[in-house]
Assembly symmetry: D2
Homo-oligomer: 349 residues x 4
């Protein structure tokens, strides 16, 4: 922490700040310029100290110099985190494809999608049983029945399952079926929920909040890790900006930035970010070129009858085309194909 004193701060004010730093159990270190006095704080500041220092007379500005997270920080481990899901190693050399419908609608819809994405090379099946919907009048998901269908699709195809959990009390039920617990964008800073999945031993995919900075997003991951669960992957899915042509603004720079700041794998969801099926393929390719470890793609057997997010869903044919193109990019950036679940049997959840 660095405290910049106001131009013209008195010696008394400077001494008072230094005394307050000592009262917080830390050491001040003064650095006097011609115009401005700067006081460095040696040691780890306790909570709220930045705010408290800012209020002292003569203080112009207080700046933090240490990162507000530890477990998620790149400095924390020597090597990037790799998370095994089914046969795929997320964060390893391969690019992992997670695909499936926005929401589970019927047995047939889910199984058709599951077989389709599997044939096209998907490593993980996505599908929502519990759906956060902006309006209460939209389809809210099949809920527990949806979980049962996901379990069936898993049994039949061997594809591991990623599905969203929306509230702490539902974590046990979703845990039974899911291979990866998904935290949605609206729950990125739902701390009781983060703590609850942090107490499980299943991998968690944390979607960036629509209004969250990269820093706040990694701190949300820290909330999960602080409870003991180190298997967290980050998912960029678009942020709010003034541009309205796309549903949100996919912040692909967040991929290399998050990988520089943290050792956690980074996934990209171009379907929700863009909201338009015809933008999914170019942005999926761009995501992999930017260094993404995997993709989350909405696929529906018949998007024009989908109960949810049809406009951004790919048909199975379009997904197969995307998978092939993404593979080309993956090779161009020196990544291997990730192992598919056919190759390795998946143990029951």
């Amino acid at each position: 922490m660095i405290i910049v004193m106001r131009h013209g701060a008195t010696t008394e004010e400077i001494l008072h700040v230094e005394e307050r730093i000592r009262r917080e159990g830390l050491q001040p270190h003064r650095s006097g310029g011609v115009d401005t006095t700067v006081i460095g704080v040696i040691g780890t500041p306790p909570y709220g100290m930045l705010d408290r220092m800012e209020l002292l007379p003569g203080v112009e500005r207080v700046t933090r110099i240490t990162k507000p997270y530890k477990l998620a920080a790149r400095e924390f481990t020597a090597s990037p985190t790799v998370i095994n899901v089914g046969a795929a190693a997320i964060g390893g050399p391969g690019v992992v494809l997670m695909a499936g419908p926005c929401s589970v609608e019927t047995r047939e819809q889910l199984l058709t999608a599951a077989r389709g994405v599997q044939a096209a090379g998907a490593h993980v099946l996505r599908g929502g049983a519990f759906k956060p919907r902006t309006t209460p009048y939209s389809f809210q998901g099949l809920r527990d029945d949806g979980l049962a269908l996901l379990a069936e699709a898993r049994a039949e195809t061997g594809l591991p399952i990623i599905t969203e959990v929306m509230e702490p009390s539902k974590v046990p039920a979703v845990y039974e079926v899911a291979d990866v617990l998904q935290i949605g964008t609206r729950n990125c800073q739902n701390y009781p929920l983060l703590h609850e999945v942090g107490r499980t031993d299943k991998p968690v995919m944390l979607k960036r909040g629509l209004g969250c900075s990269i820093d706040e997003w990694i701190q949300a991951a820290e909330h999960i890790m602080d409870q003991g669960n180190m298997q967290v992957m980050l998912c960029e899915r678009g942020i709010k900006s003034f541009e309205t042509y796309t549903r949100n603004t996919l912040d692909l720079s967040a991929v290399p930035v998050a990988k520089r700041l943290s050792h956690l794998p980074v996934i990209v969801d171009p379907s929700h970010a863009t909201g338009k099926w015809y933008l999914v393929k170019p942005m999926a390719m761009a995501a992999v070129a930017a260094g993404a470890d995997g993709l989350l793609i909405e696929v529906h057997p018949t998007p024009d009858t989908a109960l949810c997010d049809g406009a951004q869903s790919l048909t199975i044919e379009n997904f197969a085309d995307l998978a092939a193109s993404v593979q080309q990019i993956a090779q161009a950036v020196g990544r291997e194909p990730a192992a598919l679940p056919e190759d390795v049997p998946v143990a029951a959840g």
Copy 2:
């Protein structure tokens, strides 16, 4: 719903769209321009229909023409909603002041703050027992002990209590103590939580999400109301923008807009929005001039020792000054003083 066909769409494509509208149980109404065909849809579209229509061949764009909420819409009731909290009528002619510390820290801190804000004219005491904090290493609140202290402050001063609830399972405990259940900005779209408070009979204050449009915010209120609880007040507390001098960007236009679109009362929280104590008073005055029904203000007996958000907290003296200035503005815009709890005894929660 209006479907704009692409320039040069074929008759076959137009007929296909019309047939699909009928299959959704609705009536199409074609309106042929020189260049462009527009098809109006008569009736209430089922969920997902907009997305489904957008995918049909020859369709350029689909626009919704009805609002996505009903219970919260101004058209729904003849008169604005008024919520009685203690002696104050929120949404009535008076401007209601809710004030107190960001978080409950100690018995003495809370009671000093409570007595101080009461003397200065506050109608409701705010104080956080459960605190959503960006980093897991900050003070997370006194939790159940904090609730007990709030109950004590209520008993001693007669001030009704507003305090945050962060997860569905804690709603009963918070319900016991609170006169108003607060939903924080990070939980604005936490639907299981909204549904849970929607099943109680206590007033709810819904803070706008940092990344939520006015439309999404009112739809979140609709989630609460759809469960039966009509006593919802909206709270503008700043949104994310590129400006970094203030913590967030207080969107005061949202006050007259929300009051035009909805019949619900609108509160403004200038403390969290600006993040700087010296901006709280001018923005509180501006909020009332813009039509706010009340203010939520952070007050701490000694901000420079606060465990949380000290930089944006007012001293009790500064709050008294704010209250007087706000009163001047309230008179200038033709509002009466709201009734204070001294005048009317508050029944136990």
Copy 3:
């Protein structure tokens, strides 16, 4: 300037940074923490130095501690800048009203508007002769003919004129007619234009750019002042955010912030910010409550026939109502009525 070294930076790297600081003609001041070394730089850094330091091996981050502007900074002068326009003192105790049509359309339209706003208490007449329009197919203004009509309106009513200048070569022609030269939001960082108006002796109103931070906006003012013209007033008129109900997001916190950082007067334009006539009055009142020194309001005799921005224009009756309400707020915040041009004859431009 403060240079934070990376955790684990070597002594060699630290010495190299210190040597480079000396090569820039400045003094380093090392402040060694347990984990992190911080090097303060004593003296004024030359341009580009921050970027250059950031690239040196072992450097984590470089932070500027001095403001990037001088002439516009509050520290620069003992008292706020007051700009006399006609009889009104902008930045003085009165709240100044500038009103008139978005664009000058006809002689009758302009004179009707001028007489109307004068009767309602306006101090300055606004009207655009040169119009920046998003599309080339919109009305671009009457140009030189518009200037002539403004001169006529000025002669007839005695109201001083504020009008926009869009390019350096037009500054002399606009200078002849205008009492205040307006720089539009799209030209906030058009430096050749800022320099040109900076070389005149007429007051300049600088609208904040739609994508400009408060800091960038004040630096734009510094470009004008650096050429010798100290009569600059800032105008907040909304920034881009994700909210789409309003045309832009009026950032009223920018009013007290800009007045804290700078000694320049601050005007607010609620018409362009909101884009809706029914939001103009509440936001005008809020602006004055937040401390604005004046308002810029679009008024049209018949908004529903306006060639430009009709939806956000007030009728003359609505403007009179706004002026009366604003006056109430001005009194509530302790401001006097500003002098009107009837009281003092205006000298020719």
Copy 4:
């Protein structure tokens, strides 16, 4: 244009709207729903009509259904625009690399950079002679001397030149030297400047404004084209968002969107967008994967002594590495290498 009447609008109001549409010279077409009446407008609406209609009694909302640009619209031409610059065909199958220093500083710096980027495969040399700088105290460029050095670099290497022009009166001088006239982000909506370059016969690169939507950006291109110059390329260079780790937020979705809406080539500038040299390569690769026709990259022989934007400049070695990696991505997306200037002699400007 579609006019949605308010729920409960009277027949009189509907008839009045229809009459007003006829007075604008167009035909109304009513489409009566159960609840809501919608009136389509047949024909091209004159300027300001949308605003005017919005003000009529009983009108809820007015929506435009035609795009606000024509010449730039994809529908306008059968095939994408290809712009020949030196030997390179921008918008053709090859990916074009434009590289060089942010600003021309010295003869040696420029020529070293020029030879370096040429050896690494650049097609066009960039370099700023006139620099828009946020603060007046930064280096503003060598101006006319910089142009002379660019001409020399062009003569020596054969590389065509792209350089910025900041004001209408400087267009002739820049025209003499430049092969492509660059319009900077702060001038994206500087219409007099757009009109001036629109009256030349040199290609123009139009950078997206920091606060401009895709729609506003394409409309700015329309301003240039409307003056007769059809050789316009668009350049995405980051927009303002709440994320602060990167200088701006690179909106790569804008690449496929702009290419879908318009026939103009799209270039990406990852240097200014990210502001950090280590993000330039991944974002350059992502840009090409997303479909960009070319890249604009800052390269400096010694970034740590640069007078401008050193932190985001690549060394020549790093640029060579980027060029090779981009080539891999280009192949993966099926693009050919663009022709280099060695292959074809460049005619004098």
